[in-house]
């Protein structure tokens, strides 16, 4: 009971560290995709390796935070909501790592004229996640400011969605040189990049509902 301040401080630090991992993971995701599009395979593999490590570390931290919340009865009214929030944030780095692994395993053949579109789509998904992290950070200190932050997340999510649609349309309607299997393969990757921005949108909506819930 009397160590509650010490425990709170330690959990605060763990949460901050967890967010750092997600942030680095997101940067590596963007870097990895760009390396792949530029055929810099060794750099791409380096990014894949890094994101793999970051994902593992984020998982460990998440489990520690979860454990501390239950063991020390921290925020008993909202513990499950906050743990759910951390799970959803962790999903973002999981998806990013899986996507880079899929690039590594399946090595999709991306035509030069479509590469630019993939770059744009990746950038929009990246920005969506990039804005999600400060929103999640500020939730713990100034919940009333979360609303301002999540607007950007939602904006970049919409952007990613429209870019993904445009990319798919180009692949299926304007790329006659590609066979159907290649088109489906390219669509699959566009879909998965878009999914990362979807995951950040889920976090944003969860944050806004949590703010309402904890509001005095």
């Amino acid at each position: 009971m009397f160590n509650i301040f010490k425990t709170s401080k330690s959990v605060n630090l763990s949460i901050e560290e967890f967010f750092d991992k997600i942030e680095y993971g997101n940067l590596n995701f963007k870097k990895g995709i760009n390396h792949y599009l530029k055929n810099e395979i060794s750099d791409f593999e380096e990014s894949l390796k890094t994101i793999h490590t970051l994902e593992n570390e984020a998982d460990t931290l998440k489990r520690k935070i979860e454990n501390d919340f239950y063991v020390y009865s921290l925020m008993p009214n909202y513990a499950s909501d906050i743990i759910n929030l951390l799970e959803k944030i962790d999903d973002v780095i999981d998806l990013s790592k899986d996507l880079l692994s899929q690039f590594d395993v399946e090595s999709p053949n991306i035509p030069e004229d479509i590469k630019k579109m993939y770059e744009k789509l990746t950038s929009a998904s990246f920005k969506s996640v990039e804005n999600m992290i400060p929103a999640a950070r500020i939730f713990f200190t100034s919940p009333e400011q979360v609303k301002e932050k999540i607007q950007k997340v939602l904006f970049y999510h919409r952007e990613a969605h429209s870019l993904a649609t445009e990319l798919k349309r180009t692949v299926f309607k304007d790329s006659e040189s590609l066979v159907l299997s290649e088109k489906i393969h390219l669509r699959y990757f566009a879909f998965h990049i878009e999914q990362i921005s979807d995951a950040s949108k889920v976090v944003a909506l969860l944050l806004s509902s949590l703010v309402l819930k904890i509001k005095m």
């Binding site: 925020m75 009214n77 904890i214």
Partner: protein
Amino acid sequence: MFFFFLTSGLFLGWALGANDAANVFGSAVGSKMIRFRQAAIIASIFVILGAVLQGSGGAESLGKLGSIDAIGGAFTVSLAAGITVFWMTKYNLPVSSTQAIVGAIIGWNFFTSSSTDPQSLVKIVTTWVAGPILGGVFAILIYKLVKYILIKSKTHLLTQDAITKYALIAVGAFGSYSLGANNIGNVVGVFVPSAPKIELDFGIFVLDGTQILFFIGGLAIALGIITYSKRVIMTVGNSLMKLTSETAFVVVFSHSLVLFIFSSQSLSDFFVFIGLPPIPLVPVSSSQVIVGSILGISLLKGGRNVDYSVLGKIAAGWVATPVLAGLISFISLFFLSNVFNVKVTQIPTENIVKEQIQITQPEINLPISTLNQPIVNTTDLQAERIDLIQITLIVSLIALILVAIYLLWINRNLRIQLKNTDYNDQILKYNEQQAVLEYELKITNNQNARLEAAVKTKKKAQKKLALDIIQKTEVLAQLKTEIDEIKKKPENEIKYSDLNNIKTLIVEQLNIEKERKSLNNYIQELNINFYQNLSTKYPELSEKEKRLCALLRLNLSSKEIASILGISFKSVEINRYRIRKKMSLKKDEKLHHIINKL
């Protein structure tokens, strides 16, 4: 006898503790911010402290309303209030012990034809209305202040959670103190005039009869908190409205402030000192103040979720509870007085009967403030003083010695238990290690046995093959001899059978090369390590020489080796000489010994 009559008051105290603890710690325990045991201990201590230190104000006001001068009357009034609370709670009607006790006292006034002080009545009823309103106002102000601090400080949610935990404990303690101070009058207020005139001297402080009574009442409330409030907290603690921990803090704090204000003599005196009217020291309903506080916050948030029917129910409770308690009190007093002949007042019975028949103004007007005037044994104005210093010291010393012995005994048992556990753990660990080692040894032995058997079998097969080759070489030599003999014979003497024998020997000869290759494979397979050692130690040896070494390792003679390798005896000898040279062996060193050592 006094303590028997006091049971009805203690029952009321128990019910109050069981129900009203939820108002103080309900949200905190219900939301698991604080453990129930922790809350119960804090609440119990502070309720007793509040009752003993600050409980007289509320009780005095009830005394002014009607000074119940006989223990039988106090018992009946308290019981009537208890029955009312119990009955109305059972049917889910809003009820307050304060209103019940006031109604029951008025019932006693009616029965004994005592006058009810209208001023006191108005004062009490006003506080019933003022309590919830004040609770709401305080809640709004504190809520605004807390929210402002939280926004400005930008505290991390987890730190905020930790602060809230401590704040809930502090405010819970304050709430319990205020509850004890304000509501003790409901529990034992009616017994004050009948309290025994004694003083207990503890050396540091002295408790008079009234304070002892309040202490006992406080104990009853504490008992209610410990034994039954958990159930109330878990079932109805949060039913009114689900509160966040911060809102719970605001609600409990405002509730505690209201109860404190209506029970603090010092604060009232301070008001008078600065020229304001004194604060009426009256027991107010804890539940209704809580409801008022919650409604205040709801109104501040826009009032969308406010259930206005709650206000109606509270107002109905202000009327229904006293009326019902008064009726029960009046009827009970009638029965007790006329059927069981229990003395319910010091006023002569004939006067009561007379007054009841004539229904005129009562002529007997007992002094209103009778708190410190004993009605029973009125002649004995000097309280009996009991010196408890020596007794307390001796009892404390004995208790300390007993506790020390008990702790030593527990400590010793724990140490023995710990030692035994350690010893058992170690034995268990050793046994496990031994079992593991035995198992590993068994596995290794089995493996070795299997390997040895395999080596033996292969060596046998190798030797057999070698011997077969030797045998076949001998057969070839025989064949050569036979052909020579046939050649020596004249042509007409050569028999068909001679030729047939030779043919058989030739067919066998055809298989020799195949078997020789097989032998080489066997030798290599069996002597992988030997070949490696040989190559490492003597890298200049050729493949043929290595093979010769492998055959020497089988203890085969030069002649036998010559047969196996299909070379002459002399060639084997020359090869052996070359090997010795490459190995730089001295004359007295035997080649097969060196090879077998590898």
